[in-house]
Subunit: 385 residues, 4 copies
Amino acid sequence: MDFSLTPAQLELQERTRRFIAEEVIPLESDPRQDSHGPSEALRDELVARARRAGLLTPHASKEHGGLGLSHVDKAIVFEEAGYSPLGPVALNIHAPDEGNVHLMEVVATPSQKARWLQPLIDGHIRSCFCMTEPSPGAGSDPSMMQTIAVRDGDHYVITGRKWFITGATGAGFAIIMARMEDGSSTMFLADMNQPEIVIERQIDALDSCFTGGHGVVRFDGLRVPAEDVLGTIGEGFRYAQVRLAPARLTHCMRWLGAARRVHEVATDYARKRQAFGQPLVEHEGVGFMLADNEMDLHVSRLTIWHCAWVLDQGDKGRHESSVAKVLCSEAEWRVVDRSVQILGASGVSDETVAARIFRDMRAFRIYDGPSEVHRWSMAKRLARH
Amino acid sequence: MDFSLTPAQLELQERTRRFIAEEVIPLESDPRQDSHGPSEALRDELVARARRAGLLTPHASKEHGGLGLSHVDKAIVFEEAGYSPLGPVALNIHAPDEGNVHLMEVVATPSQKARWLQPLIDGHIRSCFCMTEPSPGAGSDPSMMQTIAVRDGDHYVITGRKWFITGATGAGFAIIMARMEDGSSTMFLADMNQPEIVIERQIDALDSCFTGGHGVVRFDGLRVPAEDVLGTIGEGFRYAQVRLAPARLTHCMRWLGAARRVHEVATDYARKRQAFGQPLVEHEGVGFMLADNEMDLHVSRLTIWHCAWVLDQGDKGRHESSVAKVLCSEAEWRVVDRSVQILGASGVSDETVAARIFRDMRAFRIYDGPSEVHRWSMAKRLARH
Amino acid sequence: MDFSLTPAQLELQERTRRFIAEEVIPLESDPRQDSHGPSEALRDELVARARRAGLLTPHASKEHGGLGLSHVDKAIVFEEAGYSPLGPVALNIHAPDEGNVHLMEVVATPSQKARWLQPLIDGHIRSCFCMTEPSPGAGSDPSMMQTIAVRDGDHYVITGRKWFITGATGAGFAIIMARMEDGSSTMFLADMNQPEIVIERQIDALDSCFTGGHGVVRFDGLRVPAEDVLGTIGEGFRYAQVRLAPARLTHCMRWLGAARRVHEVATDYARKRQAFGQPLVEHEGVGFMLADNEMDLHVSRLTIWHCAWVLDQGDKGRHESSVAKVLCSEAEWRVVDRSVQILGASGVSDETVAARIFRDMRAFRIYDGPSEVHRWSMAKRLARH
Amino acid sequence: MDFSLTPAQLELQERTRRFIAEEVIPLESDPRQDSHGPSEALRDELVARARRAGLLTPHASKEHGGLGLSHVDKAIVFEEAGYSPLGPVALNIHAPDEGNVHLMEVVATPSQKARWLQPLIDGHIRSCFCMTEPSPGAGSDPSMMQTIAVRDGDHYVITGRKWFITGATGAGFAIIMARMEDGSSTMFLADMNQPEIVIERQIDALDSCFTGGHGVVRFDGLRVPAEDVLGTIGEGFRYAQVRLAPARLTHCMRWLGAARRVHEVATDYARKRQAFGQPLVEHEGVGFMLADNEMDLHVSRLTIWHCAWVLDQGDKGRHESSVAKVLCSEAEWRVVDRSVQILGASGVSDETVAARIFRDMRAFRIYDGPSEVHRWSMAKRLARH
């Protein structure tokens, strides 16, 4: 058993930390962002800075220009990146691109990689992942998928509506999940600039950390050539699982950094702000909340590290990533909520970054499976044994 | 002991409920509102509708044109009004006007009432309450007040900066708390349209339910004639207490309605949305959350009713209103948070009113004393006995 | 709406409080009790004291010698009685006798009342209620009942095993639930001193507040004459509900008194015990816990009062009594657990009454339906509407 | 980073697990134990079995006949031992002996080791640790110590009263903390069979897992020769810290095993027990509780492993052991409480081991510093930085 970081990990941690502090945080108040997220222009600048710092798309394989990080390496780098709401955008490690890179490295063909994956890794384009549907379609339960793909000669014709598609507006291409006539599902790759892909609207959401926000996307008989199938026909659900376990873990990593940030902001405030004759931090009521923050950050980190290590051993980590998702999304949320409380009116206003992270993070408890779905899958596993 | 409502209370409850459903909820998506709150124009329309329905400023005395509601009456009407984020604006019962009306009815002179209170009750102007200050001034601890009032002949000269002043932008007048040279404090009335009152900026806050949002207000040597002192010189802290106990209870009432709204939205969704073979509501994991919501709403209502009854007996209710503030702000928050969770992506987007109420309500746990200050005062009382 | 107590209620409250303080608490360390509960001799002495004080079986009708208390009256008296672990024994208001008295007043025949109910009310005998069975029989789900009653001429022959039967050892008679051949259920009355009733053993349980403890009872072909059927054949489940709603509410009442007791013990300790330079109570960490205790006691009391009032209106209160059971059993438990924590080693030892009440009260969260069953029934009701 | 166990650790884990299953659990219902704990005779048999299995006092150095376990090794072995309430007694790793062995290995003289430590490690005698005092003496705050040691020639004369001294009855020797005339403190070694050491009484406590229970011990002018001082005069508080950090971590380890046991008992029950048409485990309400158990066990284990690793690096781990104490004592407690709830009446009775572990474990939240003291020390550290 060993909880130490290698020298290479320590260097990467320190470099990312410095990059976020010096190159990213100063841009947090940049006007090129709105309630949907950072604009493409701001994203381009952030990406350029990460490229210069040698930190762009670090989870991609070295072959494709990344740093070839292991899951444990990612745990370290992504936490640092998450320290700023703009950090994951800068490093090109945000959902859904991060997971799409991972999935495509595993299942895409060489020509698909050249056409879509490489510019994605290089930060030149963005992608989206079209799985979730509005009611009565696929939400927590992917088996309810309504979007269909029908074979037509050398093509598949995709018809349906997807909902809450992160980054859709402005994305270069999409991975589209659709149900086949036999009830199985398949993933397709498609450029977004086609007339049969209509972004009906952008959704106003609590969070504002994703470039492109979240869109409603309609496929009006989109024709996809057979060579643009991602992987094998009928394997869509399995790939979704391949993509999901590590993808949800990277959520935990990024939000750990965000929670740590807010905790530090609150701690700093509690040391300076006086009330009733002493600094807030010397009131046990406040000090205990900060102590609870530290413990929640600690167990989140340990849980992430453990799950990352399990994945690095070649295990699929379905149980461990469910555990990590529930634990981290709830513990990190508590950290942010307590910090907002300590900050008082400063915490619910734009005085600090806390309110922004508070809004961003609430959705984390729902993305990639709400706690309830993961508890349910844990319970089913327990019932079976 | 009797938990029944009188026929008059039932009629008022039903009338308010219908008013909110028919006249207010349809305006929730009105474009005349932004991230700071409903515009003055939207407010005017809402107020006009409440006036027509005989529900405007119902807590004001009959003498001044209100309905002369008791605290228990208010518990019933304000809960119904809070069912829509625009309801309290419509009925003119939102902070800070609600508490200002109450305070001025008790301590203002006849001429002050004619000049400021009557148009406030009539919905023709709004007011603000300038107490909170930026660090190192008065926040949770009012004794740290930095704004000073210095006697100068027949006038007082007020200098200082106030922060997070709800409704400042667009308010007709302000009640200003300032520290006197002897360390006591005094409340002053002043029209807002004076050059010595500068609204430095509007604060971007989580909530967006108050017309005028929250502002930073600077007093640059504002001269206030002695006849515009509100009540007695040196009694500011005592008046703040007079105002606060019932004011914080009305927060509990309004937010109870909001929490009930979100609970009903989530319940409706859980009945319709299918996942894993059955409606969400039939999953115990979801059903238990809704059951917990019902219990949290129930104890909030009972606690409010009890405290209102104590106030109606003539008691100051300082302990009871602290209890109500902590209990309701935490229980009602849990209701909203669970409901958002059940609603999934719908809950963190603009698909329903849930995300809006979620943002609005977070601040309630801080306004009029965060939980920690109230727990502290309860603990001190326990220590003394 | 009115939260005040009548003069008669205030007098009864004060009288019960004084009785518990003067006549019952001094017997708490009486050696005539063991890990199963107070002995019959100690019970007899306690009952005699309550009889002298005019407080014996106060919930029984005046016709049968009780005080004819309303449900709200009971809320007041039973809370006071619960202040001592021996109080409910003294007043003869403990489970299962309390509920049995209530049920028999409603459905027993005059001769059944004369033979069993009157001596029960007079404190001369005790009773038990034989419903719960060991797995795979009736536990939380009464429809799984395995004990059967077969008609044989003028008799019914009962065969089966009951489990966790409170007060069985030493009881004068039993109410026995059994399944009929048609799947319905029936309640029977039977003297305990019959050879076909075998108490297999006493169960070692966490609690020790019931005289007779909890037993495993076997019916070996017990012959019950038809005239000893309680109420109507086939109505057993319905009667169980009649009995249960108020019975579980009286649990809430008694344990409220117990929780208040432990809170007061902890508060007293926290005022006196010094640590790190000041009394414990002046440490916010402790003071906040005591404040939370006060709030939990407050909502428990309000919830009980409300449900009692609903029952007094003639409503069955099935939803309200479920709400009360969950809320009170969880809130009162938190009070006891926090108090034990504050008391430190004193709280986990025999230095105070806290550890005893801690052990006793844990079972309350399970008796008369665990929280999970009540949340489930609330959820089902929500699903239906 | 590496979460794997070495082959030696895996073998030790498996061997301990088998030993507990085959040699210890069968003795759990042995009559040679009462409400204070296992008798000396039962302990002797358990110790003899562990000796035969090569598992006795495994944390002692190899030099003294132990296995020379690292802290991480202990984490693995002690968890397995804790799986039975009798396991720590069998392996001779229970408080206070476990910590006393550790402390004496570090600071005792060779002759002290020969006289007291070796027979302690060999399981021939037991020891106690006399620090805690009744109010107004040393409880959570050791600086309040009232027991004094006065120099008298070659001796120290110790006078005072100690309280809640685990294992005092039957112990061969004691480590006694006393205050010196200069306000510092010192540890002394003393055989228990001296007339100036009076065990006033045994305390009835919630737990019953320690042989000897907990006693009140009085020192009536006990004369201790200077060579029986443990370590250096005046260093008592520092040694108490040396002893405490790892000692409290071993509590976390043992109780992790106990919590896992109860979780497994509850899981097994939930798979078999039917209610409302399906096994309990298939009710989400129950399944979610078991999932929460798994997560609480997981974070407890990770936190323990991390802290143990920190200690193995030579760090004092004061912060980490505080974190572990709070996290584990609260998370493991939740596991036990939820399991009792799932077990229903079986959980509050002697049907399973759950009620016994429930009683035992409550005290863990208080021993070696209640959560509140540890949160306070974390908060103070945060205030300083």
